[in-house]
Symmetry: C2
Subunit: 200 residues, 2 copies
DNA sequence: CTTTTTTGACACATCCATGTCCCATTTTGA
DNA sequence: TCAAAATGGGACATGGATGTGTCAAAAAAG
């Protein structure tokens, strides 16, 4: 009577941790480009058998939930490193953009399906008494207070715009319509000035 | 020996034309919010039986293709009315935004799944020797030439941004986070200035 | 009113993704 | 080297969406 899987992958080191991360990354990458991708496709992309995938994530919902959680964590980590509460708002915003661009696949996955986050957030908000700090919103409000960001726009709207513009950039890169280096410049420039030439 | 369906709905007037349009509108609305919606759901939303839906569109692919075509046509019509080649570029762009906002559902449907258009365009490009005039791109180039729009940005990029920002607005309205009147102002303001306060 | 058209509900057969076992083989780690 | 852990492939059952067909009833057209 063998006891299988005493450690369900929460351990980052070891075989299981690595396999788990490979699956999550592959799933994000595949699902970002095709939400209705088959589990077989995902397993293929991860380089594992479909059986193995089912061993780590019993059903599709659990896998998707795990990918969401993992993607949020990865992005949150990058954002954390950006230290948005430090320095001038405009430069902090640029660091935020760079942080988001670092996680292209996960960002495409999360943002590509508006229903995903909407269906997931209420699931975790039960455990978490208060919503996450939302470093992005904090930065936006700070920028508005300093007059660097438009105070006439709703902070939440600005946040949506940031995500949308970055997402557009990631997507264009994915299609090879923009070089990987050029995105950052285009996104920042568009975000800061819109479609108007920088010199007013 | 009754001969059924002598007119497959190409006729705008009459029962078949109206039913066809109802199905197309409902399909766009439902699919915009859930790409994997069931044909039964779509039939329900259209107020017809699933049998009737199958009578108008033999299979799912044909329905989707028809919705794409119909949505493109509807938007194109609105854009046509906007007379983008007339007047100052900035005001033309505002008319373009208004035209797109008029077709919220269809725009969400078309833009929501990047693969849709990508998979459809090559199918019609075989019949159409040249790509459509792309009035939007024309306007952007004109604006750049006059120095109203940033010449340092790729016209195609600007076009993507316009779609993205409008789409974001439509989505926010759909979720009730923005009033239907407020969208236009927010979209135009963001598009023209980015997140920076209008007064440079 | 009569004829024709159109419709909706039901009954099917079918296909495909999914989830569950099982077992031989490989990999890991002591 | 050897035992335990992990894997991959296959077989199998299942459910849900899809496509097809039939038929009586409703709607439209004459």
């Amino acid at each position: 009577m063998p006891i299988h899987f005493s450690d369900m992958g929460t351990n980052d080191s070891g075989v299981r941790g690595r396999t788990r991360r490979a699956i999550l990354a592959a799933a994000a990458s595949v699902l970002a480009r095709d939400r209705s991708a088959t589990l077989a496709q995902i397993a293929d992309a991860a380089g594992v058998g479909r059986s193995t995938l089912h061993r780590y994530f019993p059903d599709r919902d659990e896998l998707v939930a795990a990918v969401i959680e993992d993607s949020l964590a990865a992005i949150e980590r990058s954002v954390q490193d950006a230290a948005l509460d430090q320095g001038p708002p405009r430069e902090a915003m640029r660091r935020l953009v760079a942080a988001m661009l670092e996680n292209g696949d996960r960002l495409m996955f999360l943002w590509g399906d508006p229903n995903l986050l909407a269906a997931y957030e209420p699931a975790v908000s039960d455990d978490c008494p208060e919503p996450p700090p939302q470093a992005g919103l904090e930065l936006i409000r700070r920028g508005q207070a300093e007059g660097v960001f438009d105070p006439g726009l709703d902070p939440e709207w600005i946040q949506q715009i940031v995500w949308a513009v970055v997402y557009t950039g990631v997507e264009q890169v994915d299609r090879g319509l923009i070089s990987r280096h050029g995105v950052y410049a285009a996104v920042v420039r568009t975000l800061e000035n819109g479609i108007r030439p920088p010199g007013s």
